[in-house]
Symmetry: C7
Subunit: 278 residues, 7 copies
């Protein structure tokens, strides 16, 4: 009985009151910050969607990821603060979580890096599904852009899975007109001016025929004085994806036209000085 | 006797009471968090299994790994908090464990990285057993996908063990149709149009015969004007795994058909200008 | 009733007063630092704009980025200090934010690095839109310089997206006059002095004709005694972008002029010692 | 005398009592944790031995390493806690040990990494003594697998010492059947069908003779249309280690059989167009 | 009224006094350290200027950078200490600044590294404007050395911008005499002694004519017994920048002199054993 | 006078007593730990010496290094603890030492890494003086193994200094028997069986003559069907260091013996199809 | 008045006394540690100078660097401790200095690394001025070894500046005798025994004539059976720097002597099988 009378009830009451006040404050702050955070994120994505004109699907994926990160961060801070209000030393909790987290984090560094890069890949328009790209040495058609990996279908049918952190320099071959380039080697004995005239004529004929050609083809002139031939270069600008077809057409027509004019693509030459064996 | 009377029993009792209360609080929190954590993990894997349609075996492996990580983390935090409640400075414990852990962790960084990557390899469907893949320069058939290592059987019979952290860019050759590609070189003296007609005929015949061909084969046209020959390219799309057989068949038939039409694959040419030795 | 009388109202009042005073101090400091910071940043950019003569658009982009960084930093510090004034242990808040921040920061390291480099790319004049540059192995015309990525249009039409952190060594081909260089191989039997005289004459004629040539072309002399020919080098300095055209013109004229003088570019030579098979 | 009377003996006694209690608690915890740790480790290795069927020698090596790590960690924590109980600030001790440890640890990072990898090399069955492997560019027979280094005897007799951290991708050539592969080049003038028939006959004869052949040999068909020859590929599956002997036998028999049928392996061909020197 | 009487005015006065005293101490320390720091830096640069004989412009640039770093560091410390004197927990401020600073710092690491290297580049005389250098694979004439970037004008007219951290190994071709080296191949049939005599004579004649030659040229002897020729090496030491001109002159004169003596540079040789086709 | 009476002498005495007690405790602990540490290290090296049979000189070098590290660590901890006992905040000392130490440590990381690797190089028997080794691309005879650097004398006389951290993969050519390997090319027209018989006879003769041959030489069979010759491989196992001499002897004898049997090593073959120029 | 009476003068006096005592203690410790440190460093360098026989100039450079590092470290610690004695929280000072220091330190890491390596380069004798070395791919004569950079004069006259941290593997060509190596190719038709006899005779003659030859030259035997020739190897050991001269002499004499004996170095051989074009 004496023990209970000795208990300092007033101080206990005060302590309890302070704890309750603090708890209320924390919960209030938590709810306010969460509400504001959600609104800020949603507005931000509405503006991003308007400015970058990304699809609604992509915007929702990114927004949901952002909201998740916000929630988990706030919950973690909330738990730590509640612990502390109740007088447990949260340092232990933090340190324990920190050590485990760091250990896994080191290993999962690549994962976070993937998601951060994936976030920007989805937000911007560097690559779209169906684009023909070269990334990290892999060439092909983009099949899927995800938060963690991007899939590229190589031209031989292989499906390449690239973690997004590997996507650094992107070479996109599906953005605007492409160049068609054909190098023709003629003999040192042939007349350069005549050859260029014939080539220019072929170019003009093809330019008239082929609607996928945007500009040219033009004969640039003597690109190099080679070991056995004189190289003459022709370039054209074509609609995206048509460059190979135009190059094949140019090669075939030029070969036939040069042949008709008795100008031949020369084989490698060598001067052979004969000497009798002694 | 005097000593014992001097002892402040009430404060000792109060301290003991507080310790007990705190212990009860910790154990309660521990049990609640563990139960919730287990339920959350299990639900998560049920959803993952449904969404990614991974096999039950894989799902159980991953779930058991996740539950283990949860348990060890909670036990570690539990021990640290109990120590603190009893008035031992847990910093020493933490620091000691931390230094040893960091030392080993640096060395075992690769191990954690392996397991994290392995987790996602099992979860996703980038590689399956029996797939023909190229990973980190090793080519072959996947024999086993584990949490720490993946085994690839090379075509010469060698068994390659790859730690999972080496599995970055995955090229999977067993996902969808593959391309068969044959380049044929003809002489500069041969008629391009005639040759293309013959090749196209062969292509149509083989397309009719071979059920493993999905699309083509088609003659693309003049791919290059080579040093001694004109290269003509043929491509087809075949069922997965049939591309080599189709290519071999195409090569054999084309060679025979060209021969029958007296069109030959030319050997390298060289113009030799003879000069007497002086 | 007794409880309320026991409450130490004076100390509560004093505590509240101190909290209020501290809050006022913090808010005052916050506003003053923000105002000073904004003014300092704005003045700095006015001076930068004057000194580097960067466009107003670029200067505003950079200034707005700097003001944003300032605001977010101050708000973060403000929140932490308010928390502390109210007696919550801000360490928990900080540690929580820190762990999450570090985890994301590791992954987003590339992003920050991009923006910092982008800041200096916009500020300085290393690359401008329309410049012909070689960066990180990619060659082409700069299409856009952004805070995060720079776009380079390759000559084959491909659009390369380079994150700014990849822009380390910049080779800008649009800064001042360029060199045209032509190497001519003549036979060991030809007279060097005569050849140089002919070449020099061609050079002078072209120098007179072509207004895009700034200096030269000059015949340097015997650059190498090759396996089958003597290499003679000619260089000129031309207006930016005209070097290829000048080189093509030089090659064509020299080839024609040498031919007119019966000096030929020699094919590879080989002495062939014949021996009967035994 | 007066001084000694002033001494607060009761508080000293109480302090001493608390110290003793704490010491007893620490020692008890130390002993319990050690005992439990030892039992857990031993059980774990018994299970590992059963599951992975590793040899008892290897299991004992690994178990003794684990027990040592456990002991040193516990002793270190024990010392730190005893220090703290006696009122010395263990932070100094920890920091001092930490700085020296970190300095050495940075240098010895490779060492720890070696041991961790060695641990798993001994536990798993990626490489065994007598295996023929390729690791980190070194090819040969494994002579010894240790905790720190692995020894590989190259085929030229050199002994390669590899620190275990270098053992990342393991290519083990002693796991299952191997492939024998022979490419035969025939002339463009030879009949493909006849050649394949002869080769198939040779294959069947050798398959009947040689018991080390598991599957095949089979003639796959026209592998390539080469510059001077048509390549025909033959593959077989043989018992491990017999692939080279089978390949040598195939080469010898095929050469003799083709010769008997007047089909020759063609030398490189070249078309030589002669032109008189002018 | 009662409340104000209760206020412990004497303690408030004392606290205020202590704060004032501390503030005065801090400001005094701040001013003294700044003055001393400025003087030390200025003296240091006077001495550096004297010892390294760097230009006054460079010295002022470096001195102003050093004074700026000193000022910003002192101001930062000053603010933190004032905060603490007023009883705000400066840890929050520090931690906040630290996290933001670290995040930016990681990204700006390259920037700091550039400036530190630039500091030493300006201080030392490794590269000067107008020097012909090879740095990080870029060759050309130094156009500008700045605190952050160095500009090198390539010989083809390209302007290379190198961040200073890329300037590690510097090869400076404008420091002292250079070597001219000419390798001459003669036939196996020619007499070595006679050839060397002729070459030596040419060397002496050119040495007498050309004032830019510092030492030599000398015939070293038989450098190699090549596949078709015997290589004889000649080297000379010339004034900086004249080596190419001397080499060209040597090549031309030697070629003419050898021709006059009927010694020819041999073409590649090959023994051709003829065999009839079977 | 009044002031001195006010001084609380008893508390001062008590404080001094506690300081003295603590000092005694520290010194005692210091001496005990040092003695135990020395004994442990010495015993460890005795056991190591016995187990690895390293020379006494090497063991003493390593033991003295270990004792030095122990002493410096203990002295550092001792100083820090004494400081703290006297009431100075040792954190300042530690932090100051730590910052300077870290700065130097980063730069000296390589140094520590060298010594740690050197420690194990001296302890183990991977390389001995006089061994013929290949390390980090340097090949030669080991001249000296030190704590920081290892010296290798290249076969051209160059002395290579390798910091020990560069010694990762060690290829030691002085450990056991070596292989002699000779590949002989014979003509497609020669009889394989007859050639192998002749080679086998040569092998047996040399095996009988040469005492440095441990096993073989044996004719393995047809190693490859080359472009112009059939490759036959012969291998032998010789005493360490004798492999080159045996290979030279084998080559000379085989060449002479094949010549005596009119079997010649064929030159490269080429089929030359002549065509008149049009 | 009342206020001043209330001041607790005795406690202020006591505090001041303690501060004074602590200050005296710190200054004493500072002076003692500095004196001991200077003496230790000086003795250490005397011993180093004796043991490594480095020049007095080098020793003084290194000693002065060591004394500077000692001074700056002690002054830094001294300032921090004085601050703390006066009751300022030195953590702020430390943290401020630390953040700035870390930021610069990251950038200046290379600088510290240079100085640490330079320290050991000056202390040891790996490279001396005038040595002919190959370091980090740069070959030439060492011109200067400094604390931060080493200068190497390439053989073409270029001056290479290498920061010392780049000096890892040092290949020093000026340490002891060098090897001269000459490979001679003879025809398959020549007699090996006779050729070796002639070569051996030449070797003996040159060994007698040339005093710079330490050992040999010796004919090793048949080094390789080449495509068109049999390679015979001759090696000698010469005084440092004479190897090239000896090799040139050997080549010239051997060529003349073989010619006198009608043994010729063969040109590449090829069997040419002629076939009419069809």
């Amino acid at each position: 009985m004496d023990f209970f009378q000795n208990v300092d009830w007033s101080s206990i009451l005060k302590d309890t009151g302070i704890i309750l006040l603090k708890l209320i404050g924390i919960i209030a702050a938590f709810l306010i910050v969460k509400a504001i955070g959600r609104r800020v994120i949603k507005k931000m994505f509405q503006r991003l969607q308007a400015r970058h004109s990304i699809s609604t699907g992509r915007a929702l994926t990114l927004q949901s990821l952002s909201l998740n990160v916000l929630s988990y961060t706030l919950i973690f801070i909330f738990i730590v603060m509640v612990f502390e209000v109740f007088g447990y030393n949260a340092t232990a909790l933090l340190a324990g979580a920190g050590v485990v987290g760091l250990a896994i984090g080191f290993g999962a560094q690549g994962l976070v890096s993937d998601v951060v890069t994936g976030f920007f890949l989805l937000l911007e328009k560097q690559i779209d599904v169906e684009d023909y790209v070269t990334i990290a040495g892999f060439e092909g058609i983009v099949e899927q852009v995800g938060l963690r990996t991007t899939q590229i279908r190589g031209f031989d049918g292989t499906l390449h899975y690239l973690p997004n952190r590997q996507i650094i320099n992107v070479s996109n071959h599906s953005r605007g007109n492409m160049r068609a380039l054909v190098d023709i080697g003629i003999s040192y004995d042939d007349d350069i001016d005549q050859t260029i005239a014939i080539l220019q004529e072929v170019c003009e004929r093809i330019a008239a025929e082929d609607v996928s050609i945007v500009d040219g083809p033009n004969v640039l002139g003597v690109q190099a004085l080679g070991a056995s031939d004189i190289i003459i270069r022709i370039i054209a600008k074509t609609e995206n994806g048509q460059q190979s077809a135009v190059e094949r057409k140019l090669r075939k027509t030029i070969k036939e036209q040069l042949e008709a004019n008795r100008i031949e693509v020369p084989f490698p030459h060598q001067v052979s000085i004969e000497k009798k064996s002694n």
